[in-house]
């Protein structure tokens, strides 16, 4: 039903090796090249990558495991990453594990059985045990966004601590002192870093961080709304709030609108990483932006490099790339000094 190189060997009267050579860019006599091309067209031949993969022990495929496909941070990175990988002849299998450790392990195992040439993961499980099969097989692993202790591999991270510090500093520069924080889950690496940045910035400005000004959300829209409402209700004196991720930024704005609080007159807001929403907000939101495209590119280049290397011994010097964030200006911060 589907043509194989045998079929086109028969059709052209040539041997298998010649066809294979042609398919892999080898030298073939002009005359035979034409014959082969005619046969390929006639028989609708397309290389069977499954067979090729079995033989070469390379699938030219990279596995990607992320917590959620619906997170813009993930899709932006994947899009940028795929662009680079595709241009190098690599495809990706993306698995969304629904922020579930068990599904994450399943996804990694699945990708291993599919014999992908390397794996890219924004890890949910923070002990890294789910990656052991790739580790044992000495297949490249590149981790995104979240540092894991005890697993040797490459990383592409964001400097979340500085990101949060800069955000808080911006509020302090505008005269704010009672600054709330809608933070993420306490066990998530990025959330910890952002929280630390928040506290450090306050302390360096001589302000003592207070628990009452801190809420821990779950990085979801609804969580963000809930946290913000609590924060506003419990802290009449709070003049500004920092929201520490994309989804919660949206949620916080929902909460603010539902409470009828005015931005920035009654509450100044600095959000995280949700640039399109920030632009559509009224007033426009000031926001911390992450270099998603750069992350994607770095991840792709890193894994391609590892695959190309003679994957030698433990001689590999693993890289930790840490990228900086930026702030996109909006009108959601009131200047209390004026």
């Amino acid at each position: 039903m589907v043509a194989t190189i045998k079929d086109i060997a028969k059709y052209t009267g040539l041997g298998l090796a010649t066809i294979s050579s042609y398919l892999n860019g080898g030298n073939v006599r002009e005359e035979n090249r034409k014959k082969i091309e005619a046969a390929i067209k006639e028989l609708n031949f397309e290389v069977n990558e499954v067979a090729r993969g079995l033989k070469t022990n390379k699938t030219k495929t990279i596995g990607v495991v992320i917590p959620e496909l619906n997170i813009n941070f993930c899709t932006e990175i994947i899009t940028a990453m795929e662009d680079v990988l595709r241009n190098h002849g690599y495809a990706t299998i993306v698995c969304d594990c629904r922020t579930n450790k068990e599904l994450e392990k399943n996804a990694v195992d699945f990708l291993f059985r599919k014999r992908v040439d390397g794996i890219i993961n924004m890890p949910v499980n923070s002990d890294g045990s789910h990656l052991s099969c790739f580790h044992k097989a000495k297949k490249p692993i590149v981790l995104i966004d979240r540092k894991i202790n005890g697993i040797e591999c490459d990383y592409v991270l964001v400097d979340n601590l500085t990101a949060a510090k800069n955000a808080i500093q911006r509020l302090i520069d505008n005269g704010h002192k009672r600054i709330g924080m809608v933070g993420g889950p306490e066990d998530v690496f990025t959330a910890q870093e952002r929280m630390l940045g928040y506290k450090l910035a306050l302390m360096e400005a001589g302000i003592v961080p207070e628990d009452r000004l801190i809420e821990h959300g779950d990085y979801t829209i609804n969580g963000g709304a809930r946290c913000l409402e609590k924060l506003v209700k419990n802290n009449r004196d709070m003049t500004a709030v920092f929201v520490a991720n994309h989804e919660m930024t949206m949620g916080a704005v929902i909460g603010i609108n539902e409470l009828g609080v005015k931005i920035p007159e009654e509450l100044s807001v600095i959000g995280f990483d949700n640039t399109e929403f920030a632009r559509a907000c009224k007033p426009k939101l000031t926001i911390v932006t992450q270099p998603k495209e750069e992350i994607g590119k770095n991840v792709a280049e890193l894994i391609l490099k590892r695959i190309a290397e003679n994957k030698s011994e433990q001689e590999i010097e693993y890289k930790i790339i840490k990228l900086q964030t930026d702030i996109m200006e909006g009108n959601s911060i009131r200047n209390l000094k004026k």
Copy 2:
């Protein structure tokens, strides 16, 4: 480096068939079962799906080709779809073709070479020629969201005509007569349907559709903003506007905010399919919602059914599933009758 069934045959002293039988749920003597399981653990064995796929001519993998990974409509559908497929032992390879016909063809060919068992596509190319390899190989094709003439396969569509009609009807019920439309690209199936719904609803209410009230955007945020600004500037008498997709809804709100127009006092708005943004808007947006989860589930079930069938002759009765939309109530429509 990586264990094969040969290794575990040697390790256990059993034959290959026994191991294979065990792996595929066959009957194995209790005693041997234990031996095999011990060996698998000891040697970190994981089935090589590449080899299995070559042998069985089934990869238990479905290809998915979508225009953009960053479109929430796509990711929601994929997430729902994957859930069903995963539960049936199928994995997915998702390819994002950047709304580019050439890349779309490349993606489909790539998936064919990978010998996926079926393909799901939200097509960019409206002549369907990119799917011919699957068609010729009699591998199942399920198309989403956009109808293509001249390709025989299953479809899961949304009733966009009724969706748009209902949206316009809602505005008419509230006393609006000069209703603008931010439509999509003229060559996109869903955009055509929504435009038709808009015109039909107006005509049924005795209102003559006017070109000056119609702008064609490109389904992007910036396009939506641009269209809305044109519409407002050219039509001082326009009291309401219908925005016909997710991204442009966000863009339209950006445009409205930048012009300083008040919703709904100066302009009533009904958007499309962007429920989370609608909630975060001020005021809350009234919006047409698409049953994304249901689409995903239907797509998955349909392709699984086709794969399971004895993929007989042209005896297949292709299905066209058409799902209905809903309206999520907000506060962005002014009642002119009061």
